[in-house]
Symmetry: C2
Subunit: 408 residues, 2 copies
């Protein structure tokens, strides 16, 4: 059960003109489930992506990077669930290439115009013949009004499909933004990976889109942690079709600020949905760090708190265990941090200042906040004006159960 | 129940001439337990220490650093359990100072010649009057043959006392080494802290001892992880009394290599005992990384594996989940790692090479190793000659239980 998250209904997910999605049952690992998704892009779309930093990055990630860098117009994305095609060495690269070849042949485009994505079991070979066999059905299913089905088809062990839409009015015209994501741990053990896809019918010049996908990732998918493990396949791709008639070439263009804010908001919603569906999660926690010299040190503190098993088990127990939070701030890696200047709140309750417990703090106030399903830990480092947030969940018996029992 | 660890019997722990220990019941947090330890050093001892990097470092740690840097001969150590005197701000510094003042008055030495250590609950005030009241009994109890009692008196929620001794013959004389440690998580939630103390009757010149304590810590206490959290109070102190009549002033002195090796071996034994007694531990795991360009990158890989909740739950489940280990290697932070050159063994079973599963690997061989209580994961990075080891334990239901229930 995710924490305060419901998949939007199909009619709440807006079609993005220029972007069509189709799904099929390809029996990649299991029968009777849609496990193959094809996304076809009209000519004229700009596309940008960010990918895992894991050195054991999967074969499809290597091809995505190469095809985006190659400069040919991207015209299709193909996503399979069931097998991650990671830890598969040179044979894995060949099956990822064969997948692109097959999609290219089906759509009459070059293989270099296809971005491939895989998620599922690591170390197993991808059955490329089943993908080829499933492609005609996915192609026949292509339509713009298909985000709901696609969000379901990219799931692995997610307990809910994750998707979001938003519109922005610009110069009397309407810009649509839709996206979907999957993942329930930063790495979902053998069933690995976080994937995120977002499309808009605004036109966005390539340099602007390249910058936006990085900025949006830094504010969304790069701010979440379930267990601190980074997957081999993590990918986040943004598509701008331009078919709304509204286009942006520079940060200063009228309406860009609003569209950019909406795109970032959808990214954050998709990223947070992954944490809400985190393995064994019973609580959703925002760690908001402010007063830092730069965003990087704020993020370090956020992750130190968000990764600490001691802090996360305390959240599970609804225990306002301040010592664990202070210790995590202390070891976050800010060498010259003056701890006497640090203040910490649980929601609106000031819990620590002057190097220790706040004088007015009462344990029952902390306990009241910790009992909630949604909690904000706010940390003021008291040394600057930068801020950053990290989103995480608690650490429960079920986390151990899910991960200890996963393969059995 | 610790993994394969028994406290040595009292007569197996050797007295170190020049070093006397005494314990007392001071009722610092609980009645009817020995919670105050005094260590008195004869004149002529050299002393060196390494301390937590946590910015929320405890008041006694601040005084230890200051007294060691002050250059006056250290003549006493005082250790209390029950209250950590961490996260206590300026009042905490005053109580740590008052503790040193009291010990100095009792022993007729200056307060600056005393090193104070506290372990226990964070954020609570240290009852310095109870320490003062307990000191006479601890002083009356001072004797060289008292390591066993002291190892018990410094425990917090450790399930066993941790101590070790060794002798080395040098020029027909015998050098004695004894030590003790405490801790069951890198931070034991509110009952915080790893403490380690080691004494020898060899004489060791201060520069040599300063270097040795760092080197020994890097090979022992800095190689262990239970949950990746760094305590506010972690301390490791080494004492050399010189009363064996054997003294060392330079790395090249005859017999130094053997004494140094024995001191490091005792340090490693004391550090490993903490992991064997780790919260909820059912297995003891050595992550041995070799073939790195430098020890630092080997340690990064060791900690990535040793910290990963996914890897640690797999050990708990006796599941040879290679994907999790490979993913941890991949995100350890070696930017130019060629994963195709990495090899991984579980004990003597080659499980991964060429970027994926080893061709000859059979799941039942991996499962056989994973069922053991002691496991070595060996990683060869294939890019140099450096090596480093990290010691860790598995991640069980009991870890969550202990840490979620701790304060209730």
């Amino acid at each position: 059960m995710p924490v305060n998250y419901l998949t939007p209904a199909a009619d709440q997910l807006l079609p993005v003109p220029g972007v069509r999605l189709g799904t099929a049952e390809a029996e990649i690992r299991k029968k009777s489930r849609r496990d193959l998704t094809l996304i076809a892009l009209d000519a004229g779309c700009s596309v940008a992506g960010v990918f895992t930093q894991n050195r054991f990055c999967a074969a499809p990630v290597q091809l995505c990077r190469s095809h985006l860098a190659g400069g040919k117009e991207i015209r299709a994305l193909v996503i399979n669930t069931g097998i991650a095609n990671a830890g598969t060495g040179e044979p894995g690269r060949q099956t990822a290439q064969a997948t692109c070849d097959a999609v290219g042949a089906a759509l009459g485009i070059a293989a270099e115009q296809v971005l491939p994505f895989s998620t599922g079991v690591i170390l197993e070979a991808l059955p490329v013949d089943r993908i080829k066999a499933g492609l005609p059905a996915a192609q026949a299913d292509l339509k713009a009004d298909n985000w709901h089905a696609a969000a379901h088809a990219i799931m692995t062990t997610d307990t809910v499909a994750k998707a979001a839409s938003r519109t922005v009015a610009v110069n009397g015209k309407k810009v649509a933004i839709s996206g979907m994501s999957k993942g329930a741990g930063m790495i979902r053990p053998n069933m690995a990976t976080m994937l995120g896809f977002l499309a808009t019918d605004a036109g966005i010049a390539q340099p602007l889109l390249d910058a936006l996908v990085k900025e949006a990732a830094d504010l969304s998918f790069n701010c979440i942690t379930v267990d601190g493990d980074t997957s081999t396949n993590d990918s986040f791709v943004m598509i701008a079709s331009g078919q709304s008639g509204i286009s942006f070439a520079a940060e200063t263009d009228a309406g860009w600020a609003e569209v950019k804010a909406a795109i970032i908001a959808v990214s954050v919603e998709l990223a947070q949905a992954i944490v809400r569906d985190g393995e064994g999660a019973t609580k959703f926690i925002t760690v908001a760090v402010q007063g830092g010299k730069d965003a990087d040190e704020c993020r370090k503190v956020g992750y130190a708190i968000g990764h600490s098993p001691l802090v996360k088990t305390a959240f599970f127990a609804s225990d306002p265990n301040l010592g664990r939070i202070l210790a995590a701030i202390g070891y976050a890696g800010i060498a010259d941090l003056d701890v006497d200047g640090v203040r910490v709140w649980l929601d609106d309750v000031l819990v620590a200042e002057n190097g220790g417990r706040a004088a007015a703090y009462r344990e029952e106030d902390g306990a009241r906040v910790m009992a909630q399903a949604e909690i904000t830990v706010c940390v003021d480092l008291g040394r600057g004006n930068a801020a950053a947030s990290v989103y995480t969940c608690d650490f429960s018996y079920d986390y151990v159960k899910i991960n200890a029992d996963y393969r059995s």
